[in-house]
C-alpha cells in the first residue's frame, strides 16, 4: 500500500510537471494574445519526434537542447507569418487557424515518421534505478525529468519576475497597447512568447516522449487534458495552471494505480452497490482517462472562473 502511495505520488508529480510545462505556455499565450492555441500539444509531439531524429545523430543531451529550440523557432515562424496575419480577422479566425494547424502537424508527423510509435528511448544508463523501494525501481531518467522540469520552472519564474522582458510580458498581460505606447515592440514580444511557449511544449515532448510513447496520437491524447488544466486552473493564471497540473496529474495516476472498483469505493462510504453489477464492477483504472474531464465539468458548474482565474471562460 505504502509502495503504491509513494510511487503514485512520484509519478503523479512527474506527470503533473509535464502537464504544467505544456499548460504554462498555453496559458501565457492565451492571456497575452487572447489566442487559445489548439495546436499547442502538436508542438509537444514535434519536440518528441525532433529529439528522436536528432538524438540518433547527436545523442540525448544535445537533442534535449536542440529540439526545443527548433520547436520554438517553428512556433515563432507560425506566429510571425500565420497568426499575426489571421489576427486581423478576429479570435474565431485565430481559433480555426490553430485548429487547422494541429491537423496539418499531425498529418506531417505521420507522413515523416509513420503511423506507429517510434523507438524513442532515454539513454540506456538512465534506465538504471535511481533508488529501489519495496523492490520497485525508480529510474534515473524519471529523476532527471523531474529535475529538468523544476529547473525549467525556476528559469520561467526568474524570467517573468526578474528580467526586463518579463516585466514587459507581465505588463502586456493586462495592458498590451500601453506597452506599445511606451515604445516597446509588442508584436515582437508576442512572437517571442509564442515561440517560448512552443519551446516549453517541445521540451515536454523531449522528456515526456520516452515515458508516454512517441506516436502520432500523442498530441490528441494530451491536448484536451492540457486544455482542461488551463480551464480548471483559471484561464490566464499561471499559478492556477500549476496547481491544476499537479492535481490532475495526481488524480489520474492514483486512479490507475489503485486496484479497486466503483463498488469498493461507494460501499466504503456506506452505500450498498452490487460489486458484480454493471456499474459496481467498473475498475477505477478504467475511469482514469475520464477524471480530467469529470473535473472540468464539475469546475464549469461550481466554479466557472477556475481555481485561481479572474475571468470566466
Amino acid at each position: 500500500m505504502l509502495e503504491i502511495v509513494i510511487f503514485s505520488t512520484l509519478n503523479g508529480i512527474l506527470y503533473g510537471l509535464l502537464l504544467f510545462m505544456l499548460s504554462s505556455g498555453l496559458t501565457l499565450i492565451f492571456s497575452m494574445m487572447g489566442v487559445l492555441n489548439f495546436a499547442h500539444a502538436s508542438f509537444y509531439m514535434l519536440g518528441a519526434y525532433f529529439a528522436y531524429t536528432l538524438g540518433m545523430h547527436t545523442g540525448f543531451w544535445p537533442a534535449l537542447i536542440l529540439a526545443p529550440l527548433l520547436v520554438g523557432a517553428l512556433g515563432a515562424l507560425v506566429e510571425r507569418f500565420g497568426l499575426r496575419r489571421v489576427h486581423a480577422n478576429g479570435h474565431v479566425a485565430e481559433l480555426l487557424f490553430t485548429f487547422g494547424l494541429a491537423y496539418v502537424i499531425d498529418e506531417l508527423v505521420q507522413m515523416m515518421w509513420g503511423t506507429v510509435a517510434v523507438a524513442y528511448r532515454e539513454p540506456a544508463y538512465m534506465r538504471e534505478p535511481l533508488f529501489t523501494l519495496f523492490g520497485t525501481d525508480y529510474s534515473i531518467f524519471r529523476g532527471v525529468v523531474i529535475l529538468i522540469s523544476i529547473l525549467m520552472f525556476v528559469a520561467l519564474w526568474y524570467l517573468l519576475k526578474k528580467t526586463r522582458v518579463g516585466l514587459m510580458i507581465r505588463a502586456a498581460l493586462t495592458h498590451g497597447e500601453m506597452v506599445g505606447h511606451l515604445g516597446h515592440n509588442v508584436p515582437r514580444l508576442f512572437m517571442g512568447v509564442f515561440g517560448f511557449g512552443c519551446a516549453l511544449a517541445g521540451l515536454a515532448g523531449v522528456i515526456g516522449g520516452p515515458i508516454m510513447s512517441t506516436e502520432p496520437g500523442m498530441a490528441a491524447t494530451l491536448g484536451p487534458i492540457v486544455f482542461v488544466v488551463v480551464v480548471v486552473g483559471g484561464m490566464g493564471s499561471l499559478q492556477g495552471a500549476f496547481y491544476a497540473s499537479l492535481l490532475i496529474g495526481l488524480i489520474q495516476t492514483f486512479f490507475v494505480a489503485v486496484n479497486a472498483s466503483v463498488a469498493d469505493v461507494v460501499n466504503a462510504m456506506g452505500a450498498n452497490l452490487d460489486p458484480y453489477g454493471e456499474l459496481g464492477r467498473i475498475s477505477l483504472a478504467t475511469l482514469a482517462p475520464m477524471t480530467p474531464f469529470i473535473l472540468l465539468v464539475l469546475i464549469l458548474i461550481f466554479r466557472p472562473r477556475g481555481l485561481m482565474g479572474e475571468l470566466e471562460p
Binding site: R164, L167, M168, R170, A171, L173, T174, H175, E177, M178, V179, G180, H181, L182, G183, H184, N185, V186, P187
Partner: protein
Amino acid sequence: MMLEVNDLHAYYGKSHILNGVNFAMQEGEVVALLGRNGVGRSTTVKSIMGEVPPQGSIRFRGEEIAGMPNHRIARRGLGYVPEDRDIFPTLTVRQNLELGIKNTRKPGKWKVEQFLDMFPNLARRADAPAGVLSGGEKQMLTISRTLMGDPELIMIDEPTEGLAPLIVKQIGELISEIAKAGVSILLVEQKLSIAMDISHRVLVMGHGQIVFEGTPEELREDEATRKEWLEV
C-alpha cells in the same frame, strides 16, 4: 514643425468621429485641446498614436507617421498618456517607471529617483504593486512613466478628470515642469481651468473638427465660442 495634422478622419465602425481635423504644433509649444465630452478629443490623440486607424496626414518632425505601429511612433519621440491612466497594476511603482525607459543603455534626462522625490506618495509605495495607488497617484505615475522615455512631445489626455482640487494643482505643477524642460505638450482637457496658465495656444473641438484656435486670452474674451462649444 513638431507636429502637423492635416485633414484627419477617423471612424468607429461606421460612425464617422473625426471629420477633417487640422492643427499644427511648434517645438516647445504647450497646446490645449478643449471640448465637451464626446467631441472626439481622445479619438484625435488615439489616431495620432495609431490606436484608432487614422485617415489623412500626420507628420511628426516632417515625417509621415499616420498608420505606423505605436512603438515606432513612440520611438520617434512622441509620448502618450491615455485617459484611462493604464498603469500596470501587477508591477511595482518602480517597475512601472522603469518600463517607461525605451533604451536602458542610453539614459535619458528624467530619472526614477527624481519622480520619487517629486511625489512622496509614490516614493512611499515604490515597491508596492501600482494597482493599490489612488487615482491621483496613478495619474502622476503614468505621466512620469511616459517621461522616462524622453519624449519630445507628450500628449496627455484629461489628466485632471475626477481628481480633487489639491491633486489637480499638483498635476498643473508637473505639467509646468515638463514645459520648462523644453518638452512640447498637447494637453487634452474639458475646460480652460488648468490649461489657462500653462498653454500658449488653445484649440477647441466640436463635432470632430477644430472650431476655434487662439491664445487662452482670446478664448476667454470670445464668449460666443465658449457658450457654443465649451460651457454646458
